[in-house]
Symmetry: none
Subunit: 207 residues, 4 copies
DNA sequence: CATGAATGAGGGTTCATTCAT
DNA sequence: GATGAATGAACCCTCATTCAT
């Protein structure tokens, strides 16, 4: 971990290595990177439903180049998502090493917020029924829960924050700043917000 | 406020009056209502990108009927949005009359959550650059800020909640439980969530 | 039977009636006919793989008009095929009423040859694995086997031809015989086949 | 005739000699052979419209290698066709030496049937208007007419078959007969055609 | 020479919008 | 007014062909 680009699945575009283990040509890798960067930018601006041509144009490559590396439109969405999840997860240990536990937590949540902020339209895609998106929530969870989990633990260990919030729930809550959730969960998060409101109120109570 | 259907713009569909002030024929009004109801349901299920044809089918009317009353597809989105904003705003005084201030606030936030929950894809539309959607945020704000504002004021007056949260911010925060937000604001709400976390922490403080 | 256009399936395009039994608008029917005619001509010239756009252009309609009536490209192929099968089958009783049995048989085989001659590329389509084409052989068989069967029976009853050839086999043989060749030659080969039939018939002659 | 690989055009791939007369490198020749074999197999399975990439994969070579030797896709089709025509023509003298004239004829027609059976989609290609395919019928005729012609002559000389059928016509008839049908049936129809041939022959029998 | 990455024209299909009926 | 047929721009994707490595 540590580089901007890497994937969990060996051979995924962006890894610098093909599935066969053979070295990917330098120019191909450059294109993959350009496409992912362009897709990330375009998705952020126009949502994940943006035309592939728009991404190709911004990346400065032909349509076929995108389809070579991402045979389905959805593969591109998945790849961008995973790359950003990876980058975000990688930030956790870095911040933990640099800051006090609760500062590291707060900073990571900001970092994570930045990640989430570009996900316009992804929620709709996730609920579109397209099976290509089914693994995404699991990917999200598998990478970010441990990352946030250790930050939360450290902060709770110092007594800076309460200890009864599961990493997954907090991830979802912040994610929901962009992604629609099922009502139950939304409700819980509204309650948490209301807790936040009551904190510091004249009639509120501490501990 | 008060009727099921009304708009801000004189002569908008749903008012019961045409721009010329002439009375809209009863069957035309029935069609408008059917279309709006159908659109609301379809948007909730398939998102705001659902084909117009699907709405026409569910409303039991022809395509032309929809386009007669809503010349652009976006007009339909706008109308549904406004109608739901109105209904939601109208709920505030009703709840205020029935419940204690902080209970009324909590209930209204739930009501509002239900409203927001059906907005899949709307955020993407709002940021699509289509000028038809430009007035929507203002409409949202003009109607819901006063509604929530009075609930917040009443609750703060009793000391049940802190007094330093602006209605608009809270609206956005809860909205974002489903819809993507711009970064600044998301950040503030993350901070609020963190406050919520700290509330009840061993090392937390009250007041 | 008897009209140029009719289908086996109620509500199929070309019937003049929609599936709901409601009358199809006259202009729509005109377009359906134009599309079928254009498709028939284009298929004959360019094969069944011809672009839909080419058919639309020749029919003088928009692309959407074709897709309205034939939601899949293959539906158009199927419809043209069925229409021609129908027309061909309908010719059998007409010829039987006008000519002596073996003359009627020979003429019908020529008629059938003309039908087959326009099927360039259809065989490949039939073997393409596309499930849309699966019912075609059955349709072909259900309509043409009886048509040819009665002609064969009548001719065999007069002793003009041998009686041991099944209609289906003869249909296939002639179909295969005619596909890629020019008409003159196909005709000669049909004649040869007919010679083959006559060889060994009770009323046949040797040398 | 006689070698496995040879073409009519000097310097065509498969000849073992380049246009300049220089010896083709052994590995290049190996590649050409592999490509032709792969193309033959792929055309038989997927038709002549199969993607070039599929052929490259099966041949175990890169796309560029194919295009080096066959600059146009159609060149590959032509080469495969010619190679198979050659192999088929070469079988005639071999069979003539081994069997009685009419047995040799019948066996060769079966051999020829096997050749034709792999030509799915070729007929459509031949009529596609692509000038690359224009010489094919002539090639077919120049090689197979003499091959079949001598077999027919020998058989007619013994009185086993009638003498009034031109080789070219019989080639076409059998070719067309075999394309789309399953083998068993095609074989029966070939038999019927042969019956047709025998009908009217000096040594034939009636009833 | 061989490879396979890149290109982009072209094909099927959808759907907002117009307009004849 | 209401209907839904017609239109065609725009989308996703494939694949023949070129050319950098």
């Amino acid at each position: 971990m540590g580089e901007i680009e890497h994937g969990d699945t060996p051979g995924a575009p962006g890894t610098g290595r093909s599935a066969s283990g053979r070295r990917v040509r330098a120019d191909a890798q450059r294109n993959i990177t350009a496409v992912l960067d362009a897709a990330k930018a375009v998705f952020a601006v126009s949502g994940v439903d943006a035309p592939v041509r728009e991404i190709a144009a911004r990346a400065g490559v032909g349509l076929g180049t995108i389809y070579r590396h991402f045979p389905q439109r959805s593969d591109l969405v998945v790849a961008v998502f995973q790359q950003e999840v990876d980058a975000c997860a990688d930030a956790a240990p870095v911040l933990a090493a640099e800051y006090e536990p609760d500062a590291a937590l707060a900073r990571w949540l900001r970092r994570y917020t930045g990640f989430i902020a570009t996900k316009r339209g992804l929620a709709a895609a996730l609920h579109s029924g397209d099976p290509a998106f089914e693994p995404l929530p699991a990917y999200f969870q598998q990478h970010l829960v441990p990352a946030l989990g250790s930050l939360l633990e450290s902060a709770a260990a110092t007594g800076a924050i309460r200890a009864d919030i599961a990493p997954y729930e907090l991830l979802q809550a912040v994610a929901n700043l962009c992604l629609p959730a099922d009502s139950d969960h939304a409700q819980r998060m509204v309650d948490l917000l209301i807790d936040g409101l009551r904190y510091g109120a004249p009639g509120g109570r501490a501990t």
